[in-house]
Symmetry: C2
Subunit: 332 residues, 2 copies
Amino acid sequence: MNINAISKPHERLAAILSDEMAAVNELIRIRMASEHAPRIPEVTAHLVEAGGKRLRPMLTLAAAKLFDYAGEHHIRLAATVEFIHTATLLHDDVVDESAQRRGRPTANLLWDNKSSVLVGDYLFSRSFQLMVETGSLRVLDILANASATIAEGEVLQMTAATDLATDESVYLQVVRGKTAALFSAATEVGGVIAGATDEQVKALFDYGDALGIAFQIADDLLDYQGDSKATGKNVGDDFRERKLTLPVIKAVAQARDEERAFWGRTIEKGRQQEGDLEEALALMAKYGTLEATRADANAWAAKAKASLDLLPDHEIRTLLRGLADYVVARLN
Amino acid sequence: MNINAISKPHERLAAILSDEMAAVNELIRIRMASEHAPRIPEVTAHLVEAGGKRLRPMLTLAAAKLFDYAGEHHIRLAATVEFIHTATLLHDDVVDESAQRRGRPTANLLWDNKSSVLVGDYLFSRSFQLMVETGSLRVLDILANASATIAEGEVLQMTAATDLATDESVYLQVVRGKTAALFSAATEVGGVIAGATDEQVKALFDYGDALGIAFQIADDLLDYQGDSKATGKNVGDDFRERKLTLPVIKAVAQARDEERAFWGRTIEKGRQQEGDLEEALALMAKYGTLEATRADANAWAAKAKASLDLLPDHEIRTLLRGLADYVVARLN
């Protein structure tokens, strides 16, 4: 395969890291097995094999490769990160009462909420074992703090999502919890295990943090302006599910009294009727909040790219820069 | 307070360890706080303040004190163990759809399943941060393995509880997961942090393991023979909830065809009718399974006491011996 012929940055990264990713997938397969409880691999295989872009483990492998790391702990850490991500998805589906994930029925629908809760816990404990095997207290510290940020962000989202008082700073904190904390931990631990300096580790954190925020803002924006064929989501799902995301938060911040009443009725109280989505889109257009949200996503992607300046000049660095562009390219 | 005037071993242990337990409670209070998500301390306070005997953190403090440990990490580890226990209870209540815990409505009833799942995750991540602060990879290894055993045991219980093929070895594994793994990790890490030798750490593991098994077998037996005023449970709750515990497993193992059909209908299929509990009790009496279960609990308690022989001759050791007696004293 000619890697230069591949145009999408995450696909080029995947191609360059394909041997390592194969090792990660094999480790995931081995460690999600359970001699005693066959329900565990059934549930996780359903989710893990459904695919997804494996973006998070790839970030860990890429960060280690930036420093030409020659050991094997980055494989463990990449699997750790994917296990944490999968565990979070299992618990999220229980919390959101979701019926679909990656185009397939969710585990809580195929089995039950119990299985999703307990198998999620099992994956967390497996990720914990994997990271302990690296013997790096610094890595453990980073992942412990990321876990706390993720869990706190999830609880915050649960209470803040339908509350009109949720402003951009609360939104940012939720986004850090639900997305950016694992992105930044993924890049950080890859650098730490490869012996990066403190300054470089900080740059890796900044890259993962900004990339994760750009990624999530883009996702939230696509919910209102996306092509449902390309995204697999229907326009306005977040509105119907009463989730306060950035385009709406910006509209609420500028709302006149009767507009505020509209958001109160549809989002806070959840009393939606025919035509409300169109009205919501009209209010977002009135205040240009989709454009403003796109500008925010672009700014975070630019910040991610700038963070890379402190890292070694390396083919991987070029691809990570391209990845930041790619995350927002779907918007522009 | 005259400690010698207190007759129950866990109350004497609590009295001797009261300064340390106060420090543990204070640390729990500080670490369960969340600046951003007030739902978190609301839910955990409900559960933590409801009491319980705080047996697990006490085991960690006692193990450290056996070696006259003079540091502060045992406080962190005791809080870690209680956080893991509390997180497990929150998730268990979702899985069991419980309405009551320690005589109060469960968190999933007062708030919702979402809160129980996510706050449980938050407590796990907080426990993880606390144990990383001890800087001991050996402690992290023990707790990572215990977490995996707990999670695997919970999944196993979910699928094995109503399956008549569940034998004593599967039961033991479930019991290790749901109870003994955290007891033994609690005693082990107390010893490790206090500098115990490998042989002593092994003895601490054996003590916690056997104590936890004795404790759980006693609990399961009391469900069938207990005084509901003293236990706060009704006789036969496990039967009505179709949980295969040791007294029934022993009866199933000796069942004749028509008896096996009875267990199949009531436990596997869950089609229970008036008079079934009485019939179940009659079958257990026929094969003497309550007595056999009591003998097993006593044997595990004796094993726990014997493990202590390898540990320093110390007031705490005498109390730990008494604790093993106490756990089964309710049966005899």
